[in-house]
Amino acid sequence: MATLPAQLRPEGTREVRRHRTDESLLPGARSRGFWLYLIPGLVLFTVIILVPFVWNVYLSFTSYRGIKPPEWIGLDNWVKLLGDEKFWISFQNSIAMIVAMVVVPTLLGLVLAAILFDVVGKKFGGRVASFLRATYYLPQILPIAVAAVVIGWILRADDGALNQVLEAVGLGSLSHNWLGSPDTALLSIMVVMVWVQLGYPVVIFMAALQRVDPELYEAASLDGANWWQRFSSITVAIIRPEIFVVTLTCTIAALKVFGPVYTLTRGGPGTSTIVPSYYSYSEFFQSQQVGYGATIATALTIIVVVLTIGFIQAQNWVERKEREI
């Protein structure tokens, strides 16, 4: 009878008192007294995040080259940004990063996790499955800049391993200056990102699959569902929360990509691999156009925050619909 309203229980009055909003979990202690513990955190937060953030937004309305004080120019930077072809190219490249860091790893990760859990784990034993899982996860632990150096080494123009392999198998005509040509540089960075990201969804989805009730599967098999039908209608539906988390966190990471671009191509050749974060960095510290760099950084922030809110709204909407059915 745990669902009885509190008032009907003998100790109902005490229950109600305990849930007063200004009371802490410690008996008899008002929550006001706990502000003291939040002071160090809030001071640090204000100095390191809040103030710089507001300052950066302010700089986006100024002309500032880092030496003379910033000069207010209103919306000029923002008008320039909307007409700046380089900025739009950097966002197109961000979409390529989303393909490489979100779309491909999530889809591949779903299939890999399901196979590892369902086929390898059940027919060849859990140890084989977890060993293979660790192998796929390995690139995830590398600092992203080191991962870029590793792949960049394989893609070296004249004596790189990939070109040597192509020559060895008689496909020498395909050998290429992978990072130095505008047509393959972006693709090469995308390959780095797929390699790095793949292990993350595999690990998360495999953990999530443990929630799937085997009886559901058996029932579906008895009804004549094949592996793919079970996968798409049972597995994907049950681990949807994890799919949401993985796509959201990876999309945010894809929009912020900096290390591999800095390490491998510096945005080049031309603008073929430029991304917003590298563009703002180069405006800050190479072109000394601090005001404009701040504008790019602020625009990127707006996109990230709007996307995050949209994602969470979409997830809530889907969950609500689910409950109505």
């Binding site: 909003t21 200004d22 009371e23 802490s24 979990l25 410690l26 008996p27 008899g28 202690a29 929550s31 706990f34 513990y37 939040l38 955190g41 640090l44 390191i48 995040i49 953030f53 086929v119 390898v120 059940k122 027919k123 060849f124 034993g125 293979l132 660790a134 192998t135 632990i141 600092p143 992203i144 800049a145 080191v146 150096v149 590793v150 960049g152 080494w153 394989i154 004596d159 790189g160 391993a161 040597q164 392999v165 292990g199 690990v203 998360i204 999530a208 988390v245 290390g259 390490t263 917003p276 974060s277 960095y281 800050f284 601090v290 760099g293 950084a297 602020t298 922030t301 990230v304 995050t308």
Partner: protein, 276 residues
Amino acid sequence: MVSRRQWTDWLVLAAIIIGAIVVILPFLLILVNSFKSPSDYANNGALSWPTTFYTDGIAAFWERVNFPAKLGNSILIAGLVSIFAVMVSVLNAYAIGIGRIKGRTWIIILFLVANTIPQEALLYPLYFMFKQVGLYDNIWSVIITFTVIQSAFGTYLLSSVFSTFPKEVLEAAALDGASRFQILWRVIVPISRPTISVLLVFFFIWTWNEFLIPLTFLVSNDNQTVPVAIATLQGQRLMDVTTTSASALLGLIPTLLFFLIFQRTLTRGITAGAVK
């Protein structure tokens, strides 16, 4: 519990193993080629076994970047950040999760937003501020910055853990006359140790792997971290092919070690973090 295997199962296993080999192939290539001389590489290519065991490439890179110093910087920065960030997270979470202060939902949203905004949006003002106070090109600029960035996530995670803390334990501690700080330090922290140790490991590795902020704030050679030193040297394209390979090898060894040491904590943390 291993059920009967059909030939299709073997086919699937073979495909998964081939995929796994593709994933670790770059690691193997780096490992093999770090022990080759440049002429060996030029004559026999990337796929052959080293003809002689050549360690000059590794030694050259080791001395060129003064690798022990870079390791020291990275360990100091990542270690202090993980300790400080956990301390700040615990204090924040005590006020939010146990203290249930007013407006706590908004404070958590604020911390979460801080965790998602791109670092570029803080970069120039921070750079300017650290220059003003004389911390530019000083590892403390990076330590302070990441203490705050990591504790934003830690506050979020620990607040939700603390808010479900067993009430009976808190009541018993209060009856014993423990002060507020004693309850935090002697009761809540020890009982929450599993979560706190996951946070320590994660903060350490996240900070170790960071790139943009250390690259910007730590310009002189003496203060650089391991990833920054390797990436900037790669950018200059001054090294021969096997030394570059050796630099990548030295960059990945520390993280491989962490992975082996903390494997259990990591998998526990990754999966716990996704569901929350």
